[in-house]
Point group: D3
Chain length 254, copies 6
């Protein structure tokens, strides 16, 4: 089975730089796949992306080496399994707030007897290879989003679910849940402390820790803090910021 680059980087002690796709187009996904990301996540939650667009984007990513991941809209087994069948090599699941939710999520990503994933990885076999079934449970990544006060309360329970590979901090929702406005660069102590606590707890449980960042500089800071996996804003934000900067440069003398 084709290797999971995220696992390889982590095994080598490295940090994972993850791209994030919200634009529903195969071409922009392919453009992003030609940048030097270790992995690229198709965001089916807040991105403007549904299943059909996501498959197209996964195909575009598959023309290159970056490992394709998805974020699903909600902790529902139907779509989680459908995205894995379509060739995603890992799932970021939002709003994993307690142990039962985490077990349901991880179980949806694993074949029996470990989990309850249904067998039929049609495009997974094309992308992963003919030995997909033998290695899928060890290759597919599971990342549970920790992004509410409730999840903080249940952190140890969540982190001890067998088969969970990593947590992923959702900064917008975590801020909101802790009574602060949403931001990707939080400064309120309650949020800052919560992030540090989640990071420490993940590592204590032998799990990797990922986080959503406002861009490359923010990611560098998170890597320095100890995070193992950082997403750099998303394609739409990058595009908007670049366009804004170029317009300003064009109008410098107008």
């Amino acid at each position: 089975m084709r290797e999971n680059a995220v696992k390889r980087v982590w095994a080598a002690g490295g940090k994972v730089v993850n791209g994030w796709l919200a634009i529903p187009a195969g071409y922009s996904a392919e453009v992003m796949a030609h940048q030097a990301f270790d992995s690229i996540t198709v965001d089916l939650q807040h991105g403007l992306v549904d299943y059909g667009a996501a498959v197209h984007m996964l195909q575009a990513i598959s023309t290159r080496a970056a490992t394709p991941l998805v974020r699903v809209p909600w902790n529902e087994p139907g779509l989680i399994m459908k995205m894995l069948d379509a060739g995603a090599y890992g799932v970021i699941c939002p709003m994993v707030n307690d142990r039962a939710a985490c077990e349901a999520f991880v179980g949806a990503c694993r074949y029996a007897p470990v989990g309850y994933r249904s067998y039929g990885p049609l495009r997974g076999l094309l992308y992963g290879g003919a030995d997909y079934y033998a290695h899928a449970n060890d290759t597919i990544l599971t990342l549970a989003m920790i992004e509410t006060a409730e999840a903080l309360d249940n952190l140890a329970d969540i982190l001890s679910v067998p088969g969970l590979d990593a947590i992923y901090v959702g900064l917008g929702d975590l801020s909101v849940s802790l009574g602060c406005p949403p931001t990707l660069d939080p400064t309120e102590p309650v949020v800052v402390d919560a992030i540090a606590a989640v990071l420490a707890a993940a590592h204590d449980h032998g799990l990797k820790a990922g986080i959503h960042c406002s861009g490359g500089a923010g990611a560098a800071g998170r890597f320095a803090q100890g995070f193992d996996f950082c997403s750099l804003a998303n394609d739409a934000r990058l595009l908007a910021a670049a366009a804004k900067a170029e317009i300003a440069a064009a109008r410098v003398d107008c």
Copy 2:
């Protein structure tokens, strides 16, 4: 009929900053339409965009004030008229190399007796308003691309075609046609001189002059040179460059 912002800016003595779309998605088009462009061009020639995607993108642009333009793949009346019917407020036509080509192009954008555009602007009526027919010939912009040695030879003939509003310099093809490698920032004298000659000739004929630029800084230079309309790379280039820069920033300490 809704006004054409490009005409308004020009009438006020201003310069037009034009966005350029190659990604076939309504969402990225809408993101770009929320930046401060005067006009946005959907590129059906080199962009990964066909008619169906272009209509979606025109609808997305129509949620905002920037005037929607299109570049068509070739000088063919069928698609030129189809894009105007879909609500485009101007057409950039590639490879206008002689007077007959220019007449065919401009005629396709104008109703009789000026031209031979077929009547039936279904979405044009929605976007432009119920008085579309009365004002379309005066509102729709025609920009002929000057991008070959042949066009340079026929420049005066091309520029004197009634109804032509502007020329648009295609730097990649002009460079290639003059024996140089394609670039958006040419330095070879033969290309530099050709650009200056086209600009001067256009203004001599009372026409506006547009050009494709590598970005905002390049556009500022072209505005200073006298150009009236500058396109800033395209969405895919902006995205790629932004992603590359952010990845480098993220990996600064790795």
Copy 3:
């Protein structure tokens, strides 16, 4: 944040005329958005519309002033939130049969601490404005469908859920649930009485009341009865009826 026209009309003591879209196309949505509806609902339940089509339709509606609403297929937080992130300004939720269902529905539409909506309104920010987060909880409309005998039994419980703005009577299902064939113009006393009871109860709880109508004449009757929000059939029914009438007129002498 851009205002919600439905709330404005209601605040002014007016009645809301709502369009209803079942055809999965941006163009027909845009045609409908050029009629004088106060709001237009994209129907993802019985309409032939999925998420991708719905986003295109929301973009088409956004070219005009009518407020965009959606009906979701089922009371599931994943798609409810995804449609709000895509710019819907209100949600009509089917089969809200008890208080817990209503709480789950309303909570999915509200950020903490009121609800549990996940933050990330990508297109919502474009449509609503940069201050979306500050005003979303007060701007987004929640309409719970009352359409079963079970819901009638639990009516007071449902109507007293904090954050619920209105109920919406589903006539087909209500008729079926009460043992009658489905119709948009019911005459059976049990259905007629149930409608009146729901209307009265909604108003008693300080909520607005909406209902699906067979067309304009039916809506006028419902407005006279006291309803605050009426949907006029759907685009497919309007089209079929118009085509049928025109064919008959064409064949009058054949």
Copy 4:
């Protein structure tokens, strides 16, 4: 090969009521195909329809008995043949202004030795049947649009092209070409006379005559005048008019 209903109706001395599709959706096409049209035309010229949408619409029409036709954007063999291969049973071609244009159009619809259509009717074989090749030249309808002053001048030449089945009057363009504003219900004598002349000439040459109408009443008048084939506005116009009428009815007491 499946029969062409238009030919059957005409052979029986009847009049053809034709539907017209501008909305790019399979569902609205299927709704229209459930009305009592003899034929339904997918409009790829002024409609918001491209090839991909048109194929979907042809499939939707094929669930019913009405014969599927297309109007192409321009007199170009590539797309004419592509639509026939996709199962269209006839082509309405715009802007047939002289004999050479008519020959090019008709030739694109006929296999050698009559014409130069390329063989490979993939969906045509599914829709028409395994004996498609043997009967296609006799089954496929060719309708040349007469809609310019130039075409009026060349009328006899155009009408005498072998293999042409019918003409189709484009009222908007004919009006514009004759110096009048576009309308589907012309009253200017120059246009009225031209219509009568085209009708008479078509019948003199043994051809059928079709025309675009504003609706059923207009079509009844055209049938009475002698026309053999009438199109009833289009789906988008029917929808807009129906919505407008229902909104007015809903607001009668507001």
Copy 5:
């Protein structure tokens, strides 16, 4: 209401040969619908098919006589009802592991008082006919997948749910659940015995029994064993196997 061919074949004592679609395209669906299948299932679980593609495929199938079925991704009422509204004449539901799951599934397919399906069969009315409501509960097929050890334990409970028409054996998952690698041609006794037990139990409860097969030869064996409904691999497998065989034949002398 249009009859259900599967029910007709079964009523006549026949066996149903079912096609299976994983390729998200209307054209391949139409090609398959021109083969001699009794029914064709659009697979929204493991197939690369979402709602939008599925509707297109149902329309393509509706051009022919084979009865359209769907397999849904998961036992969720929202999408089950949406597919029935779109004209599916039966639903194969995965992972029906206990009586409650079976009741939820069957209820989603039946109008009250039998079930809780919401009324609004927009395309169902086009495909089925105007009397759809009166006959839908008796026409729509429900097939529960038996594919886990848990389902085997609860078999009698599942099979006795009123309104269930048939079971469908999922061989891949059943194998995995029983500790064997997934295959469509199992030979392990534990799987072979389980299949026989499910078949016998279904017939004992007066239900029909369906199964997924590796192809025609496998299906012939299953029919001989007593199964009533056999699916022949899927379109993608058929295509891959055919291409592989033809390539080998082409290279025979290379």
Copy 6:
């Protein structure tokens, strides 16, 4: 620049087995790309494929090693260039009947000074590499279809056009043009002789010769005859034949 596998195989004295895609879906294209084809052609002429679908299919093919080619609908520079920009590595052009047509076709595939291709290979740069411009003229394949009596008459003129790489025999059209019914396995002497003549002439001019075959066995025969490039039916034919065979096998005892 990524190499062209067809050129590599030919340079090594080998024969090219080419797949042929008529189904407009990325998934089926990817399934085909996992078979052992040397090249795969997306057919935009008779296939049910337009530009948008073709790009998706090219992306799917790009996940594997087979070289992507396209057949265009007609000899038109706009779409030929658009497909090359999208990453096609060669173009099969129908109906090349004389020298001027061949020059127009080949010129559209080559940058100046050899041809007149417009520069802007957006996806070509992703697929081919950053040095695309330097090598494109030598890498992109041009195959002119010889399929009419007129082309046979002009054969030497056509074959001597500089930059033409190969001819491609279209058997259906060649048969029709020579007065025979269309077939992929012709036996009429006039067609058989014409094929042999074209093959010999191509080789005499130093060009390669390709041909469309009914399947693998037919291709083996053509390779033995001397052809260098054989296409194996198309995906839809392979699917239909496979389904037919499997259904027969399933019904063997019914």
